[in-house]
């Protein structure tokens, strides 16, 4: 199997990559674990492929002033094996363990998962629950978006031509915070049909993000409010699934949310 012909350009710098992305029919290649299958099937036929892998400045994972800063090129395996992430943001450790398989996570990147915006992807949902901020850069400057601003539809983000996701910033974990990520897939390692990411500080804060409720990560705001007002887990879970039209997905999302709440409150 061969992709359609393209010109391969290793990125000399972030600025150099942005220049090619802005001026040519070019696609950015990160880990390639979604893009290369699309090329192999010829579902994507860009003229130019800009390889971001030489940009080691985008491959970093650090804690700065309590926030977790994830360079867009950080491998999923690096996120999964980070003790600092497991200690402060265990939701990410759990969510990333569901991404593909070990060999996929060795190449696949966190930024790639976000920019690809697959509706079944775990990391966008986990990051939405954690109120992550997405730093984008283009030739004309930088901007920062929230998950609800970034994710626009299936495989569609607010990233514009010539713009690159460079870093993801996860705010400091609040004292006493509890988190859980649960999903349902038909077979182990397959794309998830539904999932729930729950981040709570009892009495203070609740974030419930759903995978499979819509083509983008969805925050279940009515369920979050009910949780803060003291509703029990079953009622919060019912509200989380209430707006989902498909009965099977609604049942899955309700059950997954309830189980995630049981885990964080146990």
């Amino acid at each position: 199997m061969k992709p359609a012909p393209f010109a391969y350009r290793p990125a000399p710098s972030v600025a150099g990559a942005l220049d090619v992305l802005a001026t040519e029919d070019a696609v950015a290649l990160a880990g390639g674990q979604s893009l290369i299958p699309l090329l192999n099937f010829r579902l994507a036929r860009p003229e130019v492929l800009v390889d971001l892998n030489p940009l080691t400045e985008l491959d970093h994972l650090e804690i700065s002033q309590g926030s977790l800063r994830i360079g867009a090129l950080t491998r999923q395996a690096t996120l999964q094996r980070s003790p600092a992430v497991a200690a402060g943001w265990p939701l990410l450790t759990e969510a990333v363990s569901h991404v593909g398989h070990a060999a996929i996570r060795n190449r696949g990147t966190v930024g790639g998962s976000v920019a690809h915006a697959d509706p079944a992807a775990e990391l966008p949902v986990a990051l939405a629950a954690l109120d992550a901020r997405f730093h984008l850069r283009s030739g004309s400057g930088e901007r920062t978006l929230s998950a609800s601003e970034l994710f626009r539809g299936p495989m569609t983000t607010a990233l514009e031509t010539g713009e690159l996701l460079v870093e993801i910033e996860v705010p400091p974990a609040a004292p006493g915070v509890r988190m859980a990520f649960l999903e349902h897939a038909r077979t182990h390692g397959d794309f998830a049909v539904a999932g729930a990411a729950v981040v709570v500080v009892p009495g203070e804060r609740a974030a419930i993000a759903l995978l499979g409720a819509a083509p983008v990560p969805v925050r279940a705001s009515a369920a979050e409010r009910a949780f803060l007002e003291g509703a029990d887990g079953a009622e919060v879970a019912r509200l989380a699934g209430a707006d989902v039209g498909d009965r099977y997905r609604r049942a899955l999302l309700t059950t997954l949310t309830r189980r995630a709440l049981e885990r964080v409150l146990a």
Binding site: P3, Y8, G32, H101, A102, N106, G189
Partner: protein
């Protein structure tokens, strides 16, 4: 573009198209046909090789991306005199292969696991790590048994 890729300690230098997949370079240009190509979209795991010691899908990388990098394929597992590694012997002893199409991928994934987590492995750990490789013959029981045996042997 001209690339030089080190595979099993030897440099293979050749001209490749930008679109040449690493899996095709390994088989067609380096002539190392032990690496098998199954689905060519990252699902089956047959083409798994090690890049800097970690398992990756060679069908999901371009040959140009491996320029000046170091790979290990199934041909690199046995000793220079052809003596099988402990893992390869365990695969034979535990009937971990039948047709053999998936075997190279399983060996490269399992070999990396044994190096990263030396010592006895639980069945869950082994199954979790090998979940990205498909086998249509064995039902996986023999493969898991072989990796467990190799882990016990090599980990002392």
């Amino acid at each position: 573009m001209r690339v030089s890729i080190v595979i099993n300690g030897r440099a293979y230098e050749d001209e490749v198209e930008d679109r040449t997949l690493l899996s095709d370079f390994i088989r067609h240009q380096a002539g190392l046909t032990g690496t098998h190509v199954g689905c060519e979209h990252g699902v089956c795991g047959a083409c798994t090789v090690q890049l800097d010691g970690e398992p990756v899908r060679s069908c999901l990388m371009l040959a140009v991306q491996a320029n000046a990098r170091s790979l290990r394929t199934v041909e690199g597992l046995a000793g220079p005199d052809g003596e099988l590694s402990a893992l390869q012997r365990a695969f034979t002893e535990h009937h971990a292969l039948q047709c053999g199409f998936c075997t190279a991928g399983f060996l490269m994934a399992a070999d990396a696991l044994l190096r990263r987590r030396p010592g006895a492995l639980t069945e869950t750990e082994i199954r979790e790590e090998l979940a990205g490789n498909l086998c249509r013959c064995t039902g996986y029981e023999g493969i898991v048994a072989a990796v467990r045996a190799a882990a016990a042997e090599t980990g002392g």
